[in-house]
């Protein structure tokens, strides 16, 4: 009886091996589907300084859509197909509820265009443990430091990276006496904090620091308040921290002494800008404009990079498994083409995408940081933002492990789930027969 039992186990194993070999072959020939969810919440139309720039409800989504098309163009040569599930949460609805309803077990790659609090409420869910989030919109330094999570990758440069980019260029110009003006919003405070950190890092002196508490109405404010507000201080540049754009534009040409404006207005550090044309950027700018008739924005760029990063990892690893994709993205072989000259990669210590930061005026690209001369033992890109030694985030791997892409014909791990299901089915079948 016992021997018969073992014999059966042995036979079963042989059958399993044979069947697996067979299914592996059939699977290798079929199309691999990589599912990505894109989640955002509709926004209330905010107060604006002027009507120059129309409010765009779906910033980000178009970037993801263009990247999906790009991935699928590549996918036709790698037998892969990419699907984008769009989840647009209405203004009044609950993000967590809708996320739970709409994201099934078959999706583990999430592109998020949500503010910090909503993103945090998702990444802490139980079901999110087996997911990887691509934050395509926040610039939050906390989220990349003390509050960091090992299931988030950040596509856009943090405020610290932006401020460092600005500081490097100001150093180059020897404009190292700053007058800092900040707004009342928490985001403005965070931006100002990054500016102060950069000033300290690069030896720039903040000679004055003032909070803008005046009205936002251009008819009174601009001519009367700004000269008085900026009077009595000698400085090289006026650094404005006004993320929503409520008053920052008033400073140019109206300050007491003639000085350039930088920061959230004037010369802005940004990941993407319409003036950017180098390194093939003009191609993606044209493609984007042809599709929707507006310029590509930062969130579009963030979402584009997120979906492209997934595509790049899935092509190189031939896998759609979150773990494989994540390991590849955080490994040293990953190099993403982001239309900015340097290959982009992730900082393994906090999941931040390393990238050049553009310094753009309204109609001219002034410089690209890292600015020449700012050196770093590993990569000059790490002169921007929190370097490994400064990071307060310990959640992710400290080591970057090189992951080699699988060779043709070797075990295809992406189907591990399917294999388990098949094994289970076979076992169930055999059990029934017994």
């Amino acid at each position: 009886m016992i021997s018969r039992f073992f014999m059966n186990r042995f036979l079963l194993k042989i059958i399993l091996v044979l069947l697996l070999g067979h299914t592996a072959l059939t699977y290798a020939e079929s199309i691999q589907v990589i599912k990505i969810a894109y989640i955002t919440q509709e926004k209330k139309i905010p107060a604006a300084l002027s009507n120059l720039d129309a409010f765009v409800q779906q910033k980000g989504l178009i970037g993801a859509e263009i990247a999906i098309v790009d991935n699928n163009t590549t996918g036709q040569f790698t037998q892969q197909s990419y699907e984008l599930k769009k989840i647009i949460v209405p203004v009044s609805a609950d993000v967590v509820e809708i996320f739970k309803q709409q994201v099934g077990e078959d999706i583990s790659l999430i592109v998020s265009n949500l503010p910090r609090t909503q993103l945090m409420s998702l990444v802490n869910l139980d079901l999110a443990k087996e997911m990887l989030f691509f934050d395509a919109t926040t610039t939050d330094d906390e989220l990349r430091n003390k509050q960091c999570q090992d299931n988030i990758l950040h596509m856009l440069p943090s405020r610290a990276m932006r401020a460092d980019a600005l500081a490097q260029y100001m150093m180059k110009k020897s404009w190292n006496k700053w007058f800092l003006v900040m707004g009342m919003m928490p985001a403005d405070q965070a931006y100002a904090k990054a500016i102060k950190r950069a000033a300290k890092r690069f030896g720039i002196k903040i000679v004055a620091e003032k909070q803008w508490t005046h009205t936002y109405d251009a008819r009174r404010t601009a001519q009367s308040d700004v000269p008085v507000f900026t009077q009595g201080v000698d400085y090289d540049v006026l650094v404005v921290a006004d993320e929503q754009g409520l008053f920052g534009e008033y400073f140019e040409y109206r300050s007491w002494i003639p000085r350039p404006v930088v920061g959230t207005q004037g010369l802005v550090p940004t990941s993407w800008h319409r003036t950017h044309e180098q390194w093939g950027a003009v191609q993606i700018q044209n493609r984007f404009k042809a599709k929707v008739g507006r310029w590509m924005g930062e969130q579009d760029y963030g979402a584009y990079l997120a979906v492209r990063a997934i595509g790049e990892a899935a092509v190189r690893t031939k896998s759609r498994q979150m773990k494989m994709i994540k390991d590849y993205l955080l490994g040293s072989d990953f190099a993403l083409q982001g239309y900015k000259g340097n290959p982009l990669s992730f900082r393994a210590w906090n999941g931040q995408l390393r990238q050049p930061v553009l310094l753009a005026a309204a109609r001219s690209l002034v410089a690209v940081a890292p600015v020449e001369g700012f050196l770093h033992p590993k990569t000059e890109l790490d002169t921007l933002g929190f370097d490994q030694s400064e990071s307060a985030c310990n959640n992710l791997n400290k080591e970057t492990l090189p992951v080699k892409p699988l060779l043709k014909g070797t075990y295809d791990s992406e189907n591990a789930n399917s294999y388990q299901q098949i094994i289970q089915q076979i076992i169930n079948k055999i059990k029934q027969n017994f």
Partner: protein, 321 residues
């Protein structure tokens, strides 16, 4: 004294004859023009208007015609290479930038970057005979000299697509380093050389297996890695030397094509993009997009001998013996 004058006279005659011998054509992207250069005298002979945003340029194998992609006119124009008169246009698809001619000179393969296509043109009939879907943002394109393969490099898909000339179908794809820019076959068609703008590498692919057999990192001591953006690549007929233009690093890399080792770097003009041999392969010409000139490299000594101002944004370059 008389003899001396005679001597000068003879030298002048001799030189003016060699002047006739070779002409270099350079497309000027921002001037919407073609520069005509005498490389021996080191002089810009003249500049002629040819159409909006000219980039890719090829000379027909019989040296009679010039094909020039005027990108913003969405066409490829044909010019008489003696009189510089426009003699016709070819359909090109949208925004043609780079193209390649088959050895016989009757088929033109054009990269349409915005549409992810390679367009095949029948030159005698001036008709489009095929459009081949390739990866995202195709750029580099080359035809093997045995007329078996057309390869297209897609910059965002990061692949070399191997197109069978007989069927105009893709038969294989090779994943390469990010943002492949230019590619060229060796004269014996055993190797395909491909540059990666982002990884800063030159990749050597074996044409039989269509796999990468060697990667050469083009690091330059003292130049930051982000400036190492290889673009144009050419290999001499004997496969002794290969040359790679390294864009904003302002240098041309000299590669020993037998050992596949990096030999040295030659400093040329700013943002060096495309390369062309003289017919006798004794000189190499480079277009330097930002310094608005071309450099001439003497290939016997591997020395840069001259730079000639040509106009704004020199892009493509060919030499006519």
């Amino acid at each position: 004294m008389k003899q001396w004058f005679l001597g000068i006279g003879l030298i002048t005659v001799f030189f003016s004859q060699t002047v006739q011998a070779e002409i270099v054509f350079v497309t000027l992207e921002k001037d919407n023009a073609l520069a005509i250069v005498d490389p021996i005298a080191g002089k810009l002979l003249k500049t002629i208007d040819i159409g909006q945003r000219p980039r890719g340029i090829i000379l027909s194998p019989d040296y009679k015609y010039l094909y020039i992609a005027t990108s913003d006119d969405d066409t490829v124009k044909i010019f008489d290479a003696e009189t510089f008169v426009e003699v016709g246009q070819l359909p090109s698809g949208e925004d043609p930038e780079t193209f390649a001619l088959n050895p016989k000179g009757d088929r033109l393969y054009i990269s349409n970057e915005d549409d992810n296509l390679v367009t095949v043109i029948d030159i005698p009939n001036k008709t489009e005979i095929a459009q081949i879907k390739v990866g995202v943002e195709p750029e580099g394109i080359a035809v093997s000299t045995d007329n078996k393969w057309v390869i297209s490099a897609s910059e965002t898909t990061n692949m070399i697509h191997w197109i069978d000339v007989a069927t105009n179908k893709i038969v294989d794809n090779t994943l390469v380093d990010p943002r492949p820019r230019a590619a060229n076959f060796t004269a014996d068609n055993e190797q395909l050389w491909v540059t990666s703008e982002i990884a800063g590498t030159l990749m050597i692919l074996d044409v039989k297996t269509r796999q990468i057999t060697k990667k050469i990192r083009l690091d330059i001591p003292g130049v930051s890695a982000d400036k190492i953006q290889p673009v144009g690549v050419v290999i001499d007929k004997q496969r002794r030397w290969g040359y790679v233009a390294i864009g904003p690093a302002n240098r041309v890399a000299v590669i020993n094509a037998q050992t596949l080792e990096l030999e040295k770097f030659l400093l040329v003009g700013q943002r060096v993009w495309n390369l062309a041999f003289s017919a006798d392969q004794k000189r190499l010409y480079t277009t330097n997009g930002r310094s608005n000139d071309i450099s001439i490299i003497d290939l016997e000594n591997h020395k840069v001998t001259k730079s000639i101002g040509v106009g704004r944004f020199p892009w493509g370059i060919v030499s006519k013996p």
